[in-house]
Symmetry: C2
Subunit: 276 residues, 2 copies
């Protein structure tokens, strides 16, 4: 649930009054982009990376952002202040705006929502997650659009298969999870897909890590290559680096967090708590 106040076009509204007219192009045509980052004790994490991506997504979709970077940062700070919630996830949502005919773009609506986080829940986990593979290539994968039509539609499928999330592949070439990047550990390599994916901010940080005895590389790999891995993990803003225990019902390693995933997770935490 969002915090008490929500910002719409740089005005604050109580969450229950935060409403958008039904002619918005997100409603009619699923047209919009977003970004999401964490704020820990009023300190936004990797904010420049998220802003770079947000403004780039907007540009790629021909959506103008009514606030520049300085103004956007100020709007976020005001929202945090007003809500009195120092540790949270912040979602920036930019829609196609009110459309005259339900098809053409209007003036984009900018919605900023704050979601309180519980740091105790954040910083630990009980067990690895179970993934189920599914063949689907997201459209415009390099842009952070609001298109999660397949991902949401797959919720019942995930439930039936006792899975926590989906792992997409494109005719056998593994790409990503709907909201996370995916890494495998095989031999002396840590590998994540190179193409047809959203290049996550957390993923980009991990690619720069040093893990003793391993090389970290971007390279496409296939479903067949999952038979030889000793670890797998996902990365995302929400979940940092999170171990994968099983894929399609087959256990990875012993199903517990492996030494590489643990190191990646620890390095991420160091970076996040050191980031200013």
């Amino acid at each position: 649930m969002a915090a008490k106040y929500v910002s719409i076009n740089n005005q604050l509204f109580l969450e229950e009054d935060a409403r958008i007219g039904v002619s918005d192009l997100a409603m009619h045509r699923g047209y919009g982009i977003f970004d999401y980052f964490k704020v820990i004790d009023k300190r936004p994490i990797f904010i420049e990376d998220h802003f770079n991506r947000f403004y780039n997504s907007a540009k790629e979709m021909y959506l103008e952002v009514m606030l520049d970077r300085v103004e956007l940062r100020k709007a976020i700070e005001e929202l945090i202040e007003k809500n009195g919630v120092p540790t949270s996830g912040i979602k920036l949502l930019l829609t196609g705006g009110y459309s005259e005919d339900g098809y053409k773009m209007g003036k984009p609506n900018l919605i900023i929502s704050q979601y309180p986080l519980n740091m105790q829940e954040e910083n630990h986990f009980d067990m690895g997650m179970k993934l189920i593979t599914y063949s689907h290539q997201r459209q415009l994968p390099f842009i952070k659009t609001i298109d999660y039509l397949q991902a949401v539609r797959l919720h019942p499928f995930m439930k039936e298969n006792n899975a926590d999330d989906v792992l997409y592949h494109n005719n056998g070439t593994i790409t990503e999870c709907p909201r996370a990047n995916f890494f495998i550990v095989t031999g002396d390599k840590i590998i994540t897909a190179a193409n047809n994916i959203l290049k996550g901010i957390t993923r980009s940080k991990v690619l720069n890590f040093k893990i003793d005895g391993y090389t970290i590389i971007e390279k496409d790999f296939t479903l067949d290559e999952l038979t030889n891995i000793h670890e797998a993990f996902i990365t995302s803003t929400t979940q940092y680096a999170y171990p994968v225990a099983a894929i399609d019902g087959k256990l990875i390693g012993d199903g517990k967090i492996g030494p590489v995933t643990r190191q990646v997770r620890e390095q991420l935490f160091k970076l996040i708590y050191a980031d200013t």
Copy 2:
């Protein structure tokens, strides 16, 4: 622009007050379905076909419609009555609803909007439309979802290329326009794509027409086959059957409406004005 009143979850609101909370899953994840049909002098056109498709789209996306067919029809009639607009387009929009976490489905929101139509504008046209081809396969093509991410994003591309609409192909195999089906006339055949498309209501009517000297068939065909056609037209609820004058800058026939397109259009008008 929508008429004065809009129905949200079976309650009437003034258009300017017709608003949806920002936590709706259409806003966050582009998750929703819709349908659109015409009402001519209070007579809804092909309503059973549109209802069949609407309830089927809802089912395919795991969205419950709060009204059954009888109740939905009543809600539409009340809206028409309240607006005092006897001839219009009616849009049924069903969203993923208010989501607790911005990802899971909520209770769907049902929005019914009425768009006044000018019958004089409806029933004539000046010239054929110009299409530009583009390689893109829509996801879940058989469901009428709100995903028009590519179509809307292509508006500047269309403008640059002086085109009125896009014609999608899937690596060379022609499928459909973003909001219409596509037919060609070649030799003694009238052909429309068979696979990976939304099977429009108007298309289904045309497939049952008798046109002297021609066979009407569903069969996939490629970009290469466009070199040998003497007519092309699109079909949709909005545009009935509408001639295509040029594709990728190349004139079809003499660029004017051809005899087959004219017959299809006339038969559609007969059917629509006879439909009860």
